[in-house]
C-alpha cells in the first residue's frame, strides 16, 4: 500500500498548490463586483431564463453505450496482462467476448443510436 501513498500526496499537493495560487491572486487582484458585471454572459443581452434545463437525451444514450464498453475494458485489462500465460484458449474466449459486444454495437448502429442529429 505504501506506494499508493504517493497518489494521495500528489492529490493533496495538487489541490494545495492551486489553492495557494488562488490565494496569491487574491492578494494582488482588484475586487469590484457590481450587478451588471456579475450577470451571466449571453452576448451582451440580458440572460433569458436558467440554463439548468432538460437536456437532449442523445447525450444520455451515448453515455449508456460508453458504460457498456467501459465495463468491457475492465475485463480486457486482466486478460491482456495474463495473455502470455493463457495462450490460445484466452485468445478464442476474448474474440468471442468482443464479437458479442460488437453485435451490440452493430445493433445500436442499425437502430440509428450512433447518429448525431
Amino acid at each position: 500500500m505504501a506506494e499508493y501513498a504517493a497518489v494521495l500526496v500528489f492529490l493533496l499537493v495538487g489541490i494545495g498548490m492551486v489553492l495557494f495560487t488562488f490565494f496569491l491572486a487574491r492578494l494582488v487582484r482588484p475586487a469590484n463586483p457590481y450587478k451588471e458585471k456579475n450577470q451571466n454572459y449571453e452576448c451582451a443581452e440580458k440572460p433569458v431564463g436558467d440554463s439548468w434545463i432538460q437536456f437532449n437525451n442523445r447525450f444520455y444514450i451515448f453515455a449508456l453505450v460508453f458504460v457498456v464498453f467501459d465495463v468491457e475494458i475492465v475485463f480486457l485489462f486482466p486478460w491482456a496482462v495474463a495473455f502470455g500465460q493463457l495462450g490460445l484458449f484466452a485468445l478464442v474466449e476474448m474474440v468471442i467476448f468482443i464479437c458479442i459486444l460488437l453485435v451490440g454495437l452493430a445493433y445500436a448502429w442499425k437502430k440509428g443510436v450512433l447518429k448525431w442529429v
Binding site: V7, V18, F22, R29, L76, W116
Partner: protein, 347 residues
C-alpha cells in the same frame, strides 16, 4: 548526466538526518510533487509560447516578437497579467461547483505524473497498475468539464461542457483498447516494464508491424480528441460557443483550465512516448533527455494538426469514433493477440 543520481543523493541525505522512515518518505514525496508542479508550470509556459510560434510559422505570421528574443517573455507576462485579473463569479452560478471545477481539472491532469517515467529511475512511484491508473485519473477531466459547464449556469458553457463530455467519452474507448493491445505484448501494466520491454529500436511498439503503426495512429487521433484540440476542438469552438465550458471563468481560475489543457497535451505525448516510442530508451544522451525529446516531437505533431486541419462537425466527430475507430481498435487488438500468440515479431 543522469538526474536519478542527484535525487538519490538528496534522498540519502534525508535518511542520514535520522528522521523516522515514514517522515522521510512523506517529505520525499511532497518534494517530488512540488518539483513536478514547478516543472509542469514552466513546461506549460514554454508550450504556450511554442504553440504561438509554431502557429505563426505555419500560417506565415510573426507571433509574439516584441518581448525578449522572439517573444520568449510573452507567456510570463501573460501569467502575471492573469494573476492580476479580477475573479468574477456569476450571480446565478452554483458557487461550490464553479469554484472546484478548475481545481479538479488541474489535479486530474497533475496526479498522472505519479507514474510518469521521466527517465531511468526517475519515477515517483512505479505502481503495478501504472497505465490503468493513468486511464482512470485522466477520466476525471470529464467530470471537471461537466462541473464547469453546469456550474456556470451559462448556455454556452453548458453546451460546451456536454459536448466535450460526449466527445471525451466517445474517444476514450478506442484509446483504452489501443493501450490494451500494447499491454498485451508487455504482459504488465507497470510503466517501467512497458519502457523496458522496448530496449532496442526495433522493439518499439510503433515498429511492430502490422499492429504497431495502426495502434500508434489510433492513439494519436484519440489523444488529440481527448485533449480537445483541433480538429476535435468543438467544445471550445470560438465561433459558435465563444469559449465553451470556460466562458464564465476569469483570472486564476481560467488560468488553471488553460494550464491543465497544456499539461494534458504534454501528458498525452508523454504516454504516447512511453507506449510506442521506447520511453527514455536511447543511446549516448541521458535518459531524461531522450524522454523529453521524444515527447516534444509528439507535442509538435499535435500542434501541427491544430494549425493545419479545419474543425470537424459534431456528427462527423461522433460517427468517426463509434463507426470507424472503435471497430478498428478492436480488430487491431485481436490482431495483436494473434501476433503475440503466433510468435510473429515476438522479440
Amino acid at each position: 548526466m543522469e538526474l536519478a543520481g542527484i535525487f538519490k543523493y538528496f534522498y540519502e541525505l534525508l535518511v542520514s538526518t535520522g528522521l523516522p522512515q515514514v517522515w522521510v518518505d512523506i517529505i520525499a514525496m511532497v518534494a517530488a510533487a512540488v518539483i513536478i508542479f514547478g516543472f509542469l508550470a514552466v513546461c506549460a509556459l514554454f508550450l504556450v509560447w511554442w504553440e504561438r510560434k509554431v502557429s505563426a510559422h505555419i500560417q506565415q505570421r510573426f507571433g509574439p516578437m516584441r518581448t525578449g528574443w522572439h517573444g520568449w517573455r510573452q507567456t510570463i507576462a501573460d501569467a502575471i497579467k492573469l494573476i492580476q485579473k479580477e475573479d468574477i463569479t456569476p450571480m446565478t452560478a452554483d458557487r461550490a461547483v464553479f469554484y472546484w471545477a478548475p481545481i479538479m481539472c488541474f489535479v486530474a491532469a497533475f496526479a498522472v505524473y505519479v507514474v510518469m517515467p521521466f527517465g531511468d529511475g526517475l519515477i515517483v512511484s512505479d505502481l503495478n497498475v501504472g497505465i490503468l491508473y493513468v486511464v482512470a485519473i485522466t477520466s476525471f477531466t470529464i467530470i471537471s468539464l461537466l462541473m464547469a459547464g453546469w456550474g456556470s449556469n451559462n448556455k454556452y458553457a453548458l453546451l460546451g461542457g456536454m459536448r466535450s463530455a460526449a466527445q471525451v467519452v466517445s474517444y476514450e474507448i478506442p484509446m483504452v483498447v489501443t493501450i490494451c493491445s500494447v499491454v498485451l505484448f508487455v504482459g504488465s501494466l507497470s510503466m517501467v516494464d512497458i519502457v523496458q520491454s522496448q530496449a532496442q529500436i526495433y522493439q518499439w511498439y510503433i515498429f511492430r508491424l502490422p499492429f504497431g503503426p495502426i495502434a500508434f495512429i489510433i492513439y494519436i487521433i484519440t489523444g488529440t480528441a481527448e485533449t480537445n484540440r483541433t480538429p476535435f476542438d468543438l467544445p471550445e469552438a470560438e465561433q459558435e460557443l465563444v469559449a465553451g465550458f470556460n466562458v464564465e471563468y476569469s483570472g486564476m481560475k481560467f488560468a488553471m483550465f488553460f494550464l491543465a489543457e497544456f499539461v494534458n497535451m504534454f501528458t498525452v505525448s508523454a504516454i504516447g512516448t512511453t507506449l510506442f516510442l521506447g520511453g527514455w530508451q536511447g543511446p549516448f544522451l541521458p535518459s531524461w533527455m531522450w524522454f523529453l525529446g521524444k515527447t516534444l516531437v509528439l507535442v509538435f505533431i499535435l500542434m501541427w494538426f491544430r494549425w493545419t486541419y479545419p474543425r470537424l462537425r459534431v456528427d462527423q466527430l461522433m460517427e468517426f469514433s463509434w463507426k470507424f475507430l472503435l471497430p478498428l481498435s478492436f480488430a487491431n487488438l485481436i490482431l495483436a493477440g494473434l501476433m503475440k500468440y503466433s510468435g510473429w515479431f515476438n522479440w
